[in-house]
């Protein structure tokens, strides 16, 4: 089955390999630059974009700040509409609930709509362990699943693969999972899509159970919304008899009207379309029989670190995320490091603030993610719900180096400063001391200037990280303050 993120090295190490991979860099550069320009065009069509963005932000903030109330309202509405609501505190519990629900139907396979939440909890692997085969039906997820690979992008999980690689995966792997790819398959995207259509159609037509996530859940009506392009979502949401949706608790919006904001901002931010090809909306099992809503509907509400994130007043804004992936597409670090380096199903800038909050900063990869950014701010600019990603990154850096109070699994704990930052901390303290004593700073500057002809252009030790690819600037004969003292000394203020 697909690979796992466990035991990932820290971001810089993983990114180093990606930066050196010319094919990967070419694939990512091509894809992200294509979508960047398209998104900008789609957004510029709406003169009120700033107002929509602000409204989206406020709707999400308000919902998060009253989440208990809206969760209960949603539960009531879904139950009244014939659905069953389950609550899962963590990944293990969510996986157990889904496995039991599938087993109760007597089926041993499910079709899946692309869903970040089920990726996050490792549902496919958990079902496999229970003897249940989960088939991914989104084209990109299919590419990842067939390739025994990991997703590297929120919207386009196989963005790291080019058409030639995809053709090779289809040719060599499709047969083991069902209908094989045609012998003469070329790398034209239209032919590849056609091969996926034929391969998956037999699975859709026979499926009895489907598993999905949801983009939005409307508290007042109990309506769930899935936004997609290919029609695999519609197949899964309408043909099977039983539908199980695993959804993060932060996906709620209070009212039906609120969709008018997100159905305008999400498609333009993610696929750069005025509207995505298909959007499905259903409310419990209402309409089952006359319309063909599945006869049984189960909603699994997932915490898995979200309430811990909610407890952080700076970090909780990450829960506004609507998973559009605009921040990935515009990020210069993502473009060069690729999605896998982030060691999570949530890559890119949003992943760098989400993973260390959902999972904590205990592992090497999670403690390194807040630093996986030059803080250039392009992510914040494009975010349709105005998540200030640089602000949260800096906040999480503070958590790593200073430790402090955090909430883990619902309990307040005090983190110790992370290991491995001792030398840096000493430098920062020393610099603070020098900067607090202008005389000392001046003495240091003078000493450096006077010894400048002995300075090397490259550095040993940790400084090599700089000088391996960049020359050091030459030190001037004297710092500015000495020049000022010589030339303007008499009229110095204070």
């Amino acid at each position: 089955m697909s690979g796992t993120f466990l035991g990932m090295p820290a971001f810089p190490e993983a990114a180093r390999k990606a930066v050196a991979d010319e094919t990967l860099r070419g694939n990512l550069r091509h894809a992200t630059h294509t979508i960047r320009a398209k998104r900008a065009r789609a957004v510029s069509e709406l003169s009120d974009w700033a107002a929509l963005r602000e409204a989206g932000k406020r709707i999400k903030d308000h919902t998060l700040r009253h989440l208990d109330r809206y969760l209960i309202q949603l539960e009531e509405a879904v139950t009244a509409a014939g659905g069953t609501v389950h609550w899962a505190a963590d990944a293990h519990e969510a996986n157990r609930i889904v496995a039991e629900l599938v087993k109760a139907t007597g089926e041993s396979e499910v079709v899946k709509v692309k869903s970040m939440a089920t990726q996050e909890i490792g549902l496919n692997e958990a079902l496999e362990a229970e003897g249940i085969r989960a088939y991914e039906t989104d084209l990109a997820e299919l590419i990842v699943q067939l390739g025994g690979d990991r997703p590297s992008h929120i919207l386009v999980p196989a963005i790291h693969r080019n058409r030639g690689e995809i053709r090779d995966i289809f040719r060599s792997r499709m047969g083991a999972w069902g209908r094989p790819a045609p012998e003469d398959l070329t790398d034209s995207p239209a032919e590849l899509a056609e091969a996926a259509r034929r391969h998956l159609r037999e699975k859709f037509l026979r499926a009895k159970v489907a598993v999905s996530g949801a983009n939005f859940m409307v508290a007042e009506t109990g309506t769930l919304v899935v936004v997609e392009s290919e029609g695999n979502g519609r197949m899964c949401l309408t043909l099977p008899e039983t539908l199980i949706s695993v959804v993060g608790i932060e996906k709620i919006v209070p009212t039906w009207r609120d969709l008018e904001v997100f159905l305008q901002t999400l498609p333009r931010s993610s696929t750069a379309e005025r509207m995505n090809p298909y959007t499905s909306m259903w409310t419990g099992t209402t309409g089952s029989g006359t319309a063909d809503v599945p006869r049984a509907f189960h909603l699994v509400l997932l915490d898995n670190g979200r309430t811990d994130t909610l407890a952080d007043q700076v970090g909780r804004q990450a829960l506004r995320c609507i998973r559009c992936s605009a921040c990935l597409n515009v990020c210069p670090v993502y473009e060069r490091a690729g999605g896998h380096a982030y060691g999570s199903v949530y890559p890119g800038p949003i992943g760098a603030i989400l993973s260390p909050q959902l999972r904590g900063t205990g592992s090497e990869i999670d403690a390194s993610l807040p630093y996986a950014s030059s803080l250039c701010g392009a992510c914040y600019d494009v975010c349709p719900v105005a998540i200030d990603i640089p602000e949260v990154l800096v906040h999480l850096r503070e958590r790593v180096v200073e430790g402090g109070p955090v909430t883990r699994a619902g309990n307040k704990v005090v983190l110790k400063p992370a290991k491995g930052h001792a030398a840096e901390r000493a430098v920062m303290r020393a610099a603070r001391w020098a900067f607090s004593h202008p005389g000392a700073l001046r003495a240091g500057q003078r000493l450096a200037s006077r010894s400048r002809r002995f300075h090397p252009r490259t550095l040993p030790g940790p400084g090599r990280a700089w000088s391996a690819s960049r020359d050091l600037p030459a030190l001037p004969a004297e710092p500015f303050r000495d020049w000022w003292q010589r030339t303007h000394g008499g009229k110095e203020a204070r």
Binding site: P332, A337, S373, C376, V394, F435, A465
Partner: protein, 251 residues
């Protein structure tokens, strides 16, 4: 008008020419410039690396040093953004941590009157033609803090266009980060270098002799990359171009 030059620790130590250029430029425009010698560092590197509590005393010191001036001008977009955007945020955080309003009250007055150089020229002095002369082909890199925090927009470009003899050539991918990012440059050196190389290659493709920016930190990273790649361009701070005149050209 009496303004304080906040030169920044990097410029003071490594780029005194930029400081001298700002003094010359502002003096030429009739501004009385002072350099309060007790100034050191705004604390940006501390703050952005996660040492907010170590940045706080530096913010207080900054506020003490600069409080008495009508305006504070700095030739660094990122340091201007630190003072204007992040000092007030540090004040809010201190308040949220139950430490009262003292920090917020201390930094508020200086945050409001701190300007990045091009912003000061265009918005406060109301000039775009500063009487400069610089007969070279130049391409301009708008740094991230200038572009997305301070929203400098076309101010720097308007100033450059008014420079006599200067040929301004548009930089492809101008809005992309150069990859410096403070401690990012060493913590994620490989990605940082890759970004720097791409930026330098884009600059090289313009055929310009000079890569101009309003922040020497980015130029230090790009200049170091240029010499390593043996690209025949030089990095020059915008202040030095604007200070250059026919009588006293920048050499």
């Amino acid at each position: 008008m009496r303004v304080a030059l906040f030169l920044t620790c990097v410029n003071d130590t490594l780029y005194p020419d930029t400081g001298r250029a700002v003094v010359r430029l502002l003096t030429r425009l009739g501004v009385e410039v002072d350099f309060p010698p007790a100034q050191t560092c705004c604390g940006q590197a501390h703050y952005n690396t996660g040492y907010r509590h170590d940045a706080e005393p530096l913010a207080v010191q900054f506020s003490d040093v600069f409080r008495g001036y009508e305006a504070i001008v700095t030739p660094s977009g990122s340091c201007a953004a630190m003072v204007r955007e992040l000092y007030p945020r540090m004040g809010e955080r201190a308040r949220a941590e139950g430490r009262g309003d003292a920090l917020a009250a201390t930094v508020a007055p200086v945050a409001a009157k701190t300007y990045e150089l091009t912003e000061f020229l265009v918005d406060v002095l109301g000039v775009t033609d500063v009487g400069a002369y610089y007969p070279h082909p130049v391409t301009y890199h708008p740094t991230c803090h200038g572009l997305r925090s301070l929203r400098l927009g076309d101010r720097p470009v308007r100033l450059l266009r008014a420079v006599k003899g200067l040929e301004l050539i548009e930089l492809p991918g101008a809005e992309e980060c150069c990859g410096f990012g403070g401690t990012f440059a060493v913590k994620n050196a490989d990605v940082s270098s890759a970004m720097g190389v791409d930026k330098v290659r884009n600059a090289e493709s313009t055929g310009a002799e000079v890569l101009c920016a309003a922040d020497n930190s980015c130029l230090m990273h790009l200049g170091g990359t240029m010499t390593r790649l043996r690209v025949g361009m030089r990095p020059v701070h915008i202040a030095e171009i604007l200070a250059s005149t026919e009588k006293e050209p920048l050499v």
